[in-house]
């Protein structure tokens, strides 16, 4: 069973490394740009706050290709967009490797710290940058 396996080590993600995030087709705007709601996640920790999620899930390119990152979710109509780790770090966010043994995802990483003043702006900037790096385009309108 996966739960009985030892945890993967948390490794250091370099600034030039790529982070992948799945892109639901519904987040593509009429002009082709990406909605910043892509980075406003739900989470238990954030359930009652009125601000973006401080912990955004992504996949690190050391252990996943864009195709693999998409495949793990089983939604082939969705897309994949990418950010280099330095981009969120330049916004004073933290990027850490958070391998997920339970879901058998060694590539899992987290962009952390997007809370408080400026959080929506950072979501906007993350989405704008991710929109420049759509690696797999969503293929259906919903």
């Amino acid at each position: 069973m996966a739960g009985e396996l030892p945890p993967w080590p948390e490794e250091t993600i370099k600034d030039e490394d790529w982070l992948y995030r799945r892109l639901p087709p519904i987040f593509v705007k009429p002009d082709g740009s990406i909605s910043d709601k892509l980075f406003m996640r739900n989470s238990e920790a954030n359930r009652n706050k009125k601000e973006p999620d401080p912990d955004i899930s992504v996949d690190w390119d050391r252990y996943a290709t864009p195709a693999q990152s998409l495949e793990i979710a089983g939604r082939p109509a969705h897309g994949i967009c990418g950010l280099q780790a330095r981009f969120p770090r330049d916004l004073d966010l933290t990027v850490v490797h958070t391998p997920d043994r339970e879901r058998d995802n060694r590539a899992h990483a987290s962009i952390r710290g997007n809370e408080g003043p400026g959080a929506k702006q950072r979501c906007f900037l993350l989405a704008e940058e991710a929109g420049k790096n759509v690696l797999i385009r969503p293929t259906s309108p919903t």
Partner: protein, 132 residues
């Protein structure tokens, strides 16, 4: 149904979109997103209709939202675009209002955001953005 398809012609794409969002199932974003709440959908419908009712007479189709987006916590976001600014009005799962205003000025792009926005201030923001 929280969202009626009956309304002004300029709002038809918005109402169609809200109906589409209403049908989203749990985990629609593959990261555990929640279905949108009827409170958020209803408030989005109301806000879009109020803006058209208040400003549609002078602004016509410009009063219609540019787009409507789901939020993973069960909320809804309405975006209006004007000549020099864009406004995203976020409606939380409980109906609370917050916003991101992006203004393009001579000094470059400026961002303003806030939470716990009273409805009248939200409507005033929309009017400012639309230039009405």
């Amino acid at each position: 149904m929280s969202v009626s398809q009956r309304g002004p012609a300029v709002l038809r794409p918005t109402l169609k979109r809200l109906a589409q969002l209403e049908a989203l199932e749990p985990d629609w974003d593959t990261y555990g997103a929640l279905p949108l709440t009827s409170t958020a959908l209803t408030r989005a419908d109301e806000m879009a209709r109020k803006v058209v009712a208040l400003y549609g007479g002078s602004l016509g189709e410009r009063a219609a939202p540019f787009t409507v987006m789901p939020i993973a916590d069960g909320g809804v976001s309405i975006e209006w675009r004007g000549p020099s600014a864009n406004l995203e009005l976020d409606i939380g799962p409980g109906g609370e209002l917050s916003y991101l205003l992006v203004t393009q000025g001579e000094d470059g792009r400026q961002f303003d955001e806030g939470t716990d926005l009273p409805e009248q201030q939200a409507l005033d923001l929309v009017r400012r953005v639309l230039g009405g």
